[in-house]
C-alpha cells in the first residue's frame, strides 16, 4: 500500500523517468500463474489480454486459450477481450485453472460506452443519434489544432478550414446542415460536460469525441443545443492497468499552394498593356523592358521574387507528449504533459535582438483524479491547462503576406545602394522592413480549467445517487514584445538624395498588456436513479444548472436550466427515452425567458426477435427514431437585452465650443423587440444500426429533418420611424438529408483489415423570410436554399448570394454595341465580361443580379479510410471530400491595387485580341474596372474536392526486442497530412477548400510530413 502511494504521487507529478525507475524495481517474486481461457461453450479463446492489475506487463492467450506468466499469489489478474465481459481474479485462484469468459451482447461490451449528457449508455442502449470516435482511433499528428484530425471522420459533422498558420489554425463546424440564415450555426463544444474550447487540447488528453445530432441527444441542453454539439471526454485512469506513454514527433510543413509572382519583364509588359487598354500610354519603354529581361541594372531595374525571398519552402513542427495513468481501488489518475512547437514560413525574419518569424508554442497539461472516498462517495477532480505562446511580427501576417504577394517585382530594390530600405511613394511596405525592423509581439494566453464532480449514493434507496459538478475556468492573455518602425527610401531626382516614406523609430520594448481575461463557471446538480427490475431497466436523471461567463467591461452572460431524462428498456431489446428540459435565457424579456424542450426517442433491437433469428447473415439490427424540440438563443442582435428599450450614456457627443472635448451624450439604442424569442428547431431523425456477416460489416444510416422556426429576420418597418430596429422572429427554414456510416473489419490470418466510410447529404430551404415586397422574384431568397458564396478579404469575409449571369467575354466592340448597355463602368469594350439581361430592360444594372443556390457549404460531405496491420507493420489512410460546393475566384484574379495595376499571376491568361479564343479572364485594365469585378458567375468555380487528408505507415518493434530494453512497446511511424488533392479547377493552382490561401494576403494551406515515435512503458 505504501509503495502504491509513492507511485501514485510520483505519477501525479508526471515524472516520467522517476516513475520508470520505480517500475524497474518491481520485478521480483517468481511465482508462475497459468491457465486456459474458454468460452461458455468450452471453446478456447485466443488473444485474450491477461495482466496483473496496476502493472504494465501483459500477455495474450495462445491458440488453445492458454497463458502463463509470473506474479505474486496476491496479484489481481484481469482478463480482457473485445466483445466479452472483463473478468478480475486473484492470482491464487487462477493458477492452472480454466477461466470462462462470457460474451457480452452486441454493442454492449466494455469498449462500447457512449457518453450521453450526464450519463453513460452502451451503444446498444442508445436511441438518439450520436457519432463517436475514440482518441485512440485518431492519428497522432503534429498539428496545432484538433480541427484537422476530425475532418472526414464522423458522419454529420462538416469541418471547413478557414485559416491556417501558426496560432491561426481555424475552422468552422456544422452539424448535419443549415436551417438558420442568420448564423453559421456553430455547434456548442463541451469538454467533460462543460462548455470549453477543445481545438487547443492535445490529442493524448482525449478519450473520445462525440457529435450529438438529434433532438434526443440535444434537448437536454434546451435553449443551447439547436446547432448540435461536440462532446469531448478526457482520459481517466484505470483501476486495472498502469500505463506510461511517450510520444515524440518531428515534421516539416510545406505550403500547398502559393502565389507565383510575375517577373519584372512580364509585369512591365502587362502593365503597359493594361494602360493602353485604359486609354493611357505605356509606362515602360522598350529599353526598360530589355533591362528587366537581361537584369543589367538591378538597382534601377530590380527584378525581385519576393515569394522566393521571404517564404520558406518548409518550416519545422514538433510535438512531445508524456502520459502516466493508472490507479487502484482507492484512486485512479491520468496525467499528461505535452509540448507543441510550430514555426512560421517567413524567411530572413530575424535580427540580433528579436525574431519576427511567426512561432506557435503550446504546453498542455492535465491531471484527472478519481477518488473512491468510501463505498458511497466518488469524487473526481480534474485540472487541465494550457499555455499558448504566439510570436509574430508587429505588422499583421496579412499585411506582410500582402506586401510579399502583391508588390511588383520591379517596385524597388529591397535595399538601396546605401543599405537603406527601398520603397516608393506607392509601395511603402517593404517586406524586409516588416520582418527585420518593425518589432514583434508575443501573445501569451494562459488557460486553467478545473472541474470537481461528486457522486453520493443514497444508501436507503438503492440505485439513487446525488451528483454535483462545478467548473471554474479562467483565461488571460499577456502581450509583450519589441516596438520599432522603419522608413523606406526612394532615390530622389538628383543622385544621392532620397525621398523618404514612413518614420523610422528606434527599437524599444513594446508596452505590455494584460487583456482578454475571462472566467466561466458551470454548476450542475441533481439526482440519478439507475435500477434494474428483472428485465425492466430504468434510468432517470435530473439536473439543475447555472452558468456564468464573465469578462471585464460588460455584464456576465448567464444561463439557467432544469434537465430531465427518463430511459426505460425491456430486456435490453426495447428502449425508450423521454427528455424534457426547462431552459432559461437572459436574452429575452422577463416572463419570456423560459422554454420547455421535450424530446422522445425509441430503439428496437429487431434482430433479437424470434422471427429474425433464422436470418443468419444478420447479426444485429436496431431501429431507432427520435423527435423533439431544441432551441437556440445564439443571436447576433448587436446589443444585449434587445427586448428592452434603453439608453446609453457617456458616449462622445456632439462637440461645441473651441476646446473640442466631446461632451457626454445620451443616446437611444436600437428599438427593442419585446416579443423576442428563441429559434425553435424541430428535429426528426430516423435510422438503423446493423451488423452482418459475422459482424464483419457495421452499417448505420439516418434520415434527418430539422425545421427551424422563429428565425430572426428584418423588420419591414419603414426607415422613417427614425430608429434602428431589432429584428423580429418571423423566419422559417429547414434542412433535410441523410447520413450513413459503414465499417468493415476482418482479420485474415496475420492481416487485420479495417475499412470505413461516412457520407452526409443535406439540402436546405428558406420557408419564410421578411423581404422587401417590391423585390423582383428572381432576387428573393424565399424558396431557395440557405446558401452563399464566401469571399475572403483581408478585412472581412463577405457572403454573396446574388450574382450577375455572365455570358462569356465580348469578342468585339461590335458585339458590345449590339448588346444591352452594361452600366457598371463608363466604357465597355471587347475583352470585357458580357452579362445576361435578366429582366429584359436592355440595361444591365443592379436589377440583373439573380439569387442563386451556389453555396460554400457543400451539399454532401464524406470521408473514407482504412487501416491494414500485418505482423509488426501497420498502415492507415483517410480521404475526405465534398460535393456541391462553390468557391469564388473573383478576389484572386482581380487582386491588386491601382498601384500595381491589379496584376498578378492570373493576369497572363487575360483576353487580348490575339488570344481571344483561349483567354480565361477579361482584358487588363488599370482603372474603370467595375464591369469586370462585379459578382457574377463568371468568377465561380466548382469547389468540390477529394483529399488524402492523412496517411501513415508504422512499424512496431518485436516484443522480444522491446522487452529487453524494458519497454512494453515501441512504434515508429511516418505520416503525412494534406497529401493529395483532387479538384475540378482545371489546373488552377489554388486550394479548393480555402481558395485564398497562399494568395492575396492569406497564409498558404500546409502539408505536413512527420516522423514519430510512440513508446509504452
Amino acid at each position: 500500500m505504501n509503495f502504491k502511494k509513492i507511485k501514485y504521487i510520483i505519477a501525479l507529478l508526471c515524472s516520467l523517468f522517476m516513475a520508470g525507475t520505480v517500475y524497474a524495481q518491481k520485478l521480483d517474486e517468481p511465482v508462475t500463474i497459468s491457465g486456459r481461457v474458454l468460452t461458455i461453450n468450452k471453446q478456447p479463446l485466443a488473444g485474450v489480454s491477461v495482466f496483473k492489475q496496476e502493472s504494465t506487463q501483459a500477455v495474450q492467450t495462445g491458440a488453445d486459450g492458454s497463458f502463463s506468466f509470473k506474479g505474486l499469489p496476491t496479484d489481481q489478474i484481469v482478463f480482457q477481450y473485445t466483445g466479452y465481459i472483463t473478468l478480475t481474479k486473484t492470482a491464487s485462484d487462477v493458477t492452472n485453472l480454466t477461466i470462462t469468459m462470457q460474451a457480452s451482447l452486441i454493442d454492449a461490451s466494455d469498449g462500447d460506452d457512449v457518453y450521453i449528457p450526464f450519463g453513460v449508455r452502451k451503444k446498444r442502449q442508445l436511441t438518439g443519434t450520436i457519432s463517436s470516435i475514440k482518441g485512440s482511433q485518431l492519428p497522432q499528428l503534429p498539428s496545432s489544432t484538433l480541427n484537422n484530425v476530425l475532418v472526414g471522420r464522423l458522419a454529420g459533422l462538416y469541418i471547413q478550414q478557414t485559416d491556417v498558420g501558426p496560432g491561426a489554425d481555424e475552422a468552422t463546424f456544422l452539424v448535419r446542415g443549415r436551417s438558420s440564415y442568420n448564423s453559421n450555426q456553430a455547434p456548442i463544444v463541451l469538454v467533460d460536460g462543460v462548455q470549453r474550447n477543445f481545438t487547443d487540447m492535445d490529442l493524448n488528453e482525449i478519450e473520445s469525441v462525440s457529435v450529438f445530432k438529434d433532438a434526443a441527444s440535444l434537448s437536454w441542453y434546451g435553449m443551447y443545443g439547436a446547432n448540435g454539439m461536440i462532446s469531448v471526454r478526457t482520459k481517466r485512469g484505470s483501476a486495472t492497468r498502469t500505463r506510461i506513454t511517450f510520444d515524440a514527433q518531428g515534421g516539416m510543413q510545406t505550403p500547398l499552394n502559393l502565389t507565383r509572382p510575375l517577373d519584372a519583364f512580364t509585369y512591365a509588359s502587362l502593365y503597359n498593356e493594361a494602360q493602353v487598354n485604359s486609354g493611357g500610354t505605356p509606362t515602360y519603354s522598350q529599353a526598360a523592358l530589355d533591362a528587366y529581361q537581361n537584369g543589367s541594372n538591378p538597382d534601377l531595374y530590380p527584378n525581385n521574387n519576393l515569394v522566393d525571398q521571404f517564404i520558406k519552402k518548409a518550416a519545422p513542427v514538433q510535438r512531445y507528449v508524456a502520459t502516466v495513468s493508472g490507479g487502484n481501488g482507492f484512486a485512479k489518475y491520468f496525467t499528461m504533459i505535452s509540448y507543441f512547437n510550430q514555426d512560421g514560413l517567413f524567411k530572413g525574419a530575424s535580427n540580433p535582438t528579436y525574431n519576427s518569424n511567426s512561432n506557435f508554442q503550446r504546453y498542455n497539461f492535465r491531471t484527472n483524479l478519481d477518488l473512491h472516498v468510501n463505498k458511497n462517495l466518488e469524487v473526481q477532480v480534474d485540472v487541465g491547462g494550457r499555455i499558448n505562446s504566439l510570436r509574430h511580427a508587429e505588422a499583421s501576417t496579412s499585411t506582410i503576406l500582402g506586401s510579399i504577394y502583391t508588390t511588383p517585382a520591379n517596385a524597388y530594390p529591397l535595399l538601396n545602394a546605401d543599405g537603406s530600405f527601398g520603397g516608393t511613394s506607392l509601395f511603402r511596405g517593404n517586406p524586409l522592413g516588416y520582418l527585420t525592423a518593425d518589432g514583434n509581439t508575443t501573445d501569451l494566453t494562459r488557460s486553467l480549467l478545473a472541474t470537481i464532480t461528486a457522486r453520493q449514493k443514497v444508501n436507503f434507496i438503492p440505485g439513487l445517487s446525488m451528483n454535483v459538478l462545478y467548473s471554474y475556468d479562467i483565461r488571460s492573455n499577456y502581450t509583450s514584445g519589441y516596438a520599432q518602425d522603419f522608413a523606406v527610401f526612394e532615390p530622389g531626382a538628383s543622385a544621392g538624395t532620397y525621398n523618404t516614406y514612413g518614420t523610422a523609430s528606434p527599437l524599444i520594448f513594446a508596452n505590455t498588456d494584460f487583456n482578454s481575461n475571462l472566467r466561466s463557471n458551470e454548476f450542475w446538480g441533481g439526482f440519478d436513479y439507475d435500477k434494474l427490475f428483472g428485465k425492466h431497466g430504468i434510468n432517470f436523471s435530473t439536473r439543475y444548472t447555472r452558468s456564468v461567463m464573465a469578462a471585464p467591461g460588460s455584464l456576465e452572460d448567464k444561463a439557467e436550466g432544469l434537465s430531465n431524462r427518463l430511459s426505460y428498456n425491456y430486456n435490453q431489446r426495447y428502449f425508450i427515452d423521454v427528455i424534457g428540459t426547462y431552459s432559461g435565457s437572459q436574452v429575452f424579456a422577463p416572463g419570456k425567458q423560459w422554454g420547455f424542450f421535450p424530446a422522445i426517442s425509441a430503439g428496437w433491437i429487431i434482430s433479437d426477435e424470434r422471427f429474425l433469428k433464422p436470418v443468419k447473415f444478420l447479426n444485429y439490427l436496431k431501429l431507432r427514431g427520435s423527435y423533439g424540440v431544441v432551441g437556440s438563443d445564439a443571436y447576433s442582435l448587436g446589443r444585449r437585452y434587445a427586448y428592452n428599450n434603453y439608453f446609453s450614456r457617456g458616449q462622445a457627443g456632439f462637440i461645441f465650443g473651441t476646446g473640442f472635448a466631446a461632451p457626454a451624450a445620451t443616446t437611444q439604442n436600437a428599438l427593442a423587440n419585446p416579443n423576442l424569442t428563441w429559434e425553435k428547431a424541430r428535429k426528426t431523425s430516423i435510422g438503423f444500426d446493423t451488423k452482418f456477416m459475422n459482424q464483419m460489416f457495421t452499417l448505420s444510416a439516418d434520415y434527418f429533418q430539422e425545421v427551424r422556426t422563429d428565425l430572426l429576420t428584418n423588420s419591414l418597418t419603414p426607415s422613417i420611424i427614425g430608429q434602428t430596429l431589432v429584428q423580429v422572429n418571423a423566419g422559417k427554414a429547414r434542412y433535410r438529408g441523410f447520413e450513413t456510416e459503414l465499417n468493415f473489419s476482418k482479420r485474415f490470418d496475420k492481416v487485420d483489415i479495417n475499412i470505413y466510410g461516412n457520407y452526409t447529404f443535406q439540402k436546405s430551404k428558406v420557408l419564410a423570410i421578411n423581404e422587401e415586397a417590391g423585390l423582383p422574384d428572381y432576387q428573393k431568397a424565399l424558396g431557395h436554399s440557405i446558401s452563399s458564396v464566401m469571399q475572403v478579404a483581408s478585412a472581412s469575409t463577405t457572403y454573396i448570394s446574388n450574382f450577375l449571369q455572365a455570358d462569356g467575354i465580348f469578342q468585339s466592340d461590335a458585339e458590345v454595341a449590339a448588346s444591352p448597355v452594361q452600366r457598371f463602368a463608363g466604357t465597355v469594350k471587347a475583352g470585357d465580361i458580357k452579362y445576361k439581361d435578366v429582366n429584359g430592360d436592355n440595361i444591365i444594372d443592379n436589377l440583373d443580379f439573380v439569387r442563386t443556390d451556389y453555396s460554400f457549404v457543400p451539399k454532401a460531405y464524406y470521408g473514407f479510410g482504412g487501416s491494414v496491420k500485418y505482423a509488426n507493420l501497420d498502415m492507415s489512410f483517410l480521404f475526405q471530400g465534398t460535393t456541391g460546393r462553390t468557391i469564388s475566384i473573383n478576389n484572386l484574379v482581380n487582386n491588386g491595387t491601382a498601384s500595381n495595376g491589379y496584376l498578378n499571376q492570373f493576369s497572363v491568361s487575360r483576353w487580348t485580341p490575339a488570344n481571344a479564343a483561349t483567354a480565361i479572364y477579361p482584358r487588363l485594365l488599370v482603372s474603370e474596372r467595375a464591369n469586370n469585378t462585379q459578382n457574377s458567375d463568371f468568377w465561380l468555380r466548382n469547389g468540390d474536392y477529394l483529399r488524402l487528408k492523412h496517411a501513415e505507415i508504422g512499424y512496431t518493434l518485436p516484443t522480444s526486442l522491446t522487452s529487453k530494453i524494458k519497454l512494453s512497446s515501441l512504434r515508429i511511424y511516418l505520416s503525412g497530412f494534406n497529401l493529395l488533392t483532387f479538384d475540378k479547377l482545371d489546373g488552377m493552382n489554388i486550394d479548393p477548400e480555402m481558395p485564398q490561401s497562399g494568395y492575396v494576403f492569406a497564409y498558404p494551406n500546409l502539408r505536413t510530413y512527420s516522423v514519430g515515435l510512440n513508446v509504452k512503458f
Partner: protein
C-alpha cells in the same frame, strides 16, 4: 467524512440552487444603460439626449462612401480621379446604384435614414418637454434651459426636413414618435406642406434662440437666431427656385429676399477679410453656424486621404477640379475669360485671375508648400516620357485633370510634416446669405442697387478685391453673374450640386463636355497648355427627372404602395 455531512452539503447546494431558481438570476438590469423614464427624469441626461440630435446634421463635405466622394464631383466642379463608384453612379445617372453603396453618409439612402433618425430625436424630445423636471435654480446650466432646448429641437427638425426636401421633394412628415407596432406607412406630403412645416418650426425656433452675440465661446457651433433665419432664407430660396416654383411666383422670391434681408439686418455678421482661409479658422464673423470639429492632420484626416497629391505623400488625390470650373474664374479686370477683351492668354492660363481661383484650386507650376507643383509630362530626347511628381497618368491616385483642390488640401499638409488645420464644414456663412439675397431680390424686383451692394461686398473682400460688377446689367445678365459669383465664392462647399438641381440646370451645366488641362513641359522648361476633353469615363449624364433624387428603392419596396416614387425613377 461522514456520509450525512456530505448529504447535508449536497442537499444544501442543490436546494439553494433550486430554490433560487427564481427569476432574478436571469433578469438583468441593463447595467450601465438607462431606461427611458430615467433619462427624462433627469434634466442633464435629457438635454444630453436632445443635443445629440445635432449629430444627424449633414456635416462634412467628403462623405460619400465613407470619404471618397463629394457632391462637387457629382456636379461640374470636379471629377473623381479614380472614378470612385459612389461618384461614378451619380455621374452616370444611376442614383439607385449609388444609394446601394453601403456608406454612412450616402446621399440617398444614407441621408434618408440619417435625417429621420434626427427627426425622431427631436420628436421624442419635444414630446418630453413637459415631462422633464427642469431645474429652476439660478443660474442654471445653459444646456438645461427648456425654452432653448425646445427651440433647438425645432430648428434641427426644420433643418433635417430641409435636407430631405432639397433632395427628394415632398417627404412623409413624421411629427411624433411612433411605436414599433404602429403602422408608419405614411404618404409623402407635398413640397409646399413640407416647406410650411419647416417654416412653422423655424418661426418658433428663431423667437427663442439666442442671438449670436449672447453665445459664449464655449457654445460655438450651437444654433442661434441667426442660424434659424439663415436656414429660413435658404429654405425660401429653394422654394422660389425653378424646380419648386413652376409658375415663377414672384412673391416666393420676394419672401426669400426678405428672409435673407432679415439676417443681414441683424448686423451680427460680416465678411471675413480673408478668403484664403475661409474654412480654416476656429471662429469667424462670417460663420453663422459651423460644425465644430478639431483640427485634422495629415495622418488622421480622411479629407487628406482623398485630396492630397501623392507627390506630397497623399494617399489619393481624387478630388480633381475640372477645367469647366477653372474657366469660371474671371480675370482680375472683372471680365470672363471668354470675353475677347479680357486679356486671357491660353498659354498663361493662371495669370491675372480672380484670386479665389488660387485659394480654391491648385494648378501646375504654382508655388505651393515652398515648391513648384509639377503636373506636367515631358518627352525626353530618347522618346521616353517622364512626369512631374504630382502627376502620373498611369495611376489613378494622381490627378485626372491637372488640378487638385486646395479647399480640401490646405497648405499645411506637407509631405513628412505633421501639419494640422481646421477644415470647417459651414452650415451657413454670411457670404451665402448675401448671395441668396442678391439672387432672390434680382428675381423678385430686378437688379436694384441692393443687389449690386450685396454682390460687390463679396467681390471686395480683402484678399479677393475684384472690381465691382458693371452697372446697368439686365436682370438675366445679373442672374448669370450671380450664379457665376456663387459658383466661385462657394466652390466645393456642398452648394453647387443642389443649386444646379434647384435651378433645373442639370442638362445645361452637368451633362456638358467635361474638360481637363494638358500640360507639356518643353525642353526649355516652359509649359504648353491645352484644354482637352476628358475621356468618356469622366463625362456626366444628367436627365431632367434627375433634379430630384429617387426615394430609396428599399423604402418604396417596404411600403404597401403608399410611398410613391418620384417620376422618372
Amino acid at each position: 467524512m461522514k456520509a450525512y455531512q456530505l448529504y447535508t452539503i449536497i442537499f444544501t447546494v442543490l436546494l439553494s440552487g433550486l430554490s433560487s431558481c427564481s427569476k432574478d438570476f436571469l433578469d438583468r438590469t441593463p447595467g450601465a444603460a438607462l431606461p427611458e423614464d430615467a433619462v427624462f427624469a433627469d434634466p442633464t441626461l435629457a438635454s444630453q439626449y436632445a443635443i445629440n440630435a445635432y449629430t444627424y446634421l449633414v456635416d462634412d463635405y467628403v462623405r460619400f462612401d465613407d470619404h471618397r466622394g463629394t457632391t462637387s464631383q457629382a456636379s461640374d466642379e470636379a471629377v473623381s480621379g479614380n472614378l470612385d463608384r459612389s461618384v461614378l453612379y451619380l455621374n452616370q445617372g444611376l442614383f439607385h446604384d449609388h444609394s446601394e453603396r453601403v456608406a454612412a453618409l450616402n446621399d440617398i439612402v444614407g441621408i434618408w435614414s440619417r435625417e429621420y433618425n434626427g427627426i425622431n430625436i427631436t420628436n421624442m424630445m419635444l414630446s418630453k418637454m413637459a415631462v422633464v423636471p427642469w431645474k429652476v435654480e439660478d443660474p442654471r446650466p445653459a444646456i438645461t434651459v427648456p425654452e432653448r432646448i425646445e427651440a433647438e429641437m425645432r430648428f434641427l427638425r426644420a433643418f433635417f426636413y430641409f435636407e430631405l426636401v432639397k433632395r427628394f421633394g415632398g417627404v412623409p412628415i413624421v411629427d411624433r414618435v411612433y411605436d414599433v407596432n404602429e403602422s408608419i406607412d405614411i404618404p409623402r406630403s407635398s413640397y409646399t406642406d413640407c416647406v410650411n412645416f419647416i417654416l412653422a418650426d423655424l418661426d418658433k425656433a428663431q423667437a427663442k434662440l439666442p442671438a449670436v452675440e449672447a453665445l459664449s465661446l464655449a457654445e460655438n457651433g450651437r444654433a442661434t437666431k441667426g442660424a434659424a433665419l439663415a436656414l429660413k432664407a435658404r429654405v425660401l430660396l429653394y422654394a422660389a427656385s425653378a424646380l419648386n416654383n413652376e409658375g415663377n411666383d414672384l412673391s416666393k422670391w420676394a419672401s426669400a429676399a426678405a428672409a435673407a434681408k432679415e439676417v443681414m439686418d441683424l448686423n451680427s455678421y460680416s465678411l471675413q477679410p480673408t478668403y484664403k482661409d475661409i474654412l480654416n479658422v476656429p471662429t469667424s464673423t462670417e460663420y453663422i453656424m459651423m460644425k465644430v470639429r478639431p483640427t485634422r492632420t495629415n495622418t488622421d484626416g480622411k479629407i487628406i486621404d482623398f485630396a492630397q497629391s501623392p507627390g506630397s505623400a497623399g494617399q489619393n488625390g481624387q478630388m480633381n477640379p475640372t477645367q469647366n470650373h477653372v474657366d469660371l474664374y474671371e480675370m482680375t479686370n472683372g471680365k470672363a475669360i471668354t470675353d475677347p477683351t479680357s486679356g486671357y492668354d491660353p498659354q498663361k492660363p493662371y495669370a491675372n485671375r480672380d484670386p479665389r481661383m488660387t485659394w480654391n484650386v491648385i494648378y501646375n507650376d504654382e508655388t505651393y508648400q515652398s515648391r513648384k507643383i509639377e503636373m506636367w509630362s515631358q518627352v525626353n530626347a530618347n522618346g521616353t516620357v517622364t512626369y512631374g511628381r504630382d502627376f502620373n497618368p498611369n495611376n489613378p491616385i494622381y490627378t485626372a485633370t491637372r488640378y487638385y483642390c486646395r479647399k480640401m488640401w490646405p497648405e499645411v499638409y506637407i509631405n513628412k510634416v505633421a501639419g494640422a488645420t481646421y477644415i470647417n464644414f459651414l452650415f451657413f456663412r454670411y457670404a451665402e446669405v448675401l448671395l441668396n439675397y442678391a439672387e432672390a431680390q434680382n428675381e423678385a424686383v430686378g437688379p436694384d442697387a441692393s443687389v449690386y451692394t450685396a454682390i460687390n461686398q463679396i467681390r471686395k473682400r480683402g484678399d479677393v478685391n475684384m472690381p465691382d460688377l458693371p452697372a446697368g446689367l439686365s436682370q438675366s445678365a445679373m442672374r448669370d453673374r450671380i450664379r457665376n459669383e456663387r459658383a466661385v465664392e462657394l466652390a466645393f462647399e456642398d452648394h453647387r450640386w443642389y443649386d444646379i438641381m434647384r435651378w433645373k440646370k442639370g442638362p445645361e451645366i452637368v451633362a456638358q463636355p467635361i474638360y481637363a488641362m494638358n500640360v507639356v513641359k518643353n525642353a526649355n522648361n516652359t509649359f504648353t497648355y491645352s484644354k482637352v476633353l476628358m475621356s468618356q469615363n469622366f463625362q456626366k449624364v444628367f436627365r431632367d427627372y434627375m433634379h430630384r433624387y429617387p426615394i430609396p428603392r428599399s423604402e418604396v419596396y417596404k411600403s404597401q404602395g403608399i410611398l410613391l416614387q418620384n417620376p422618372g425613377w
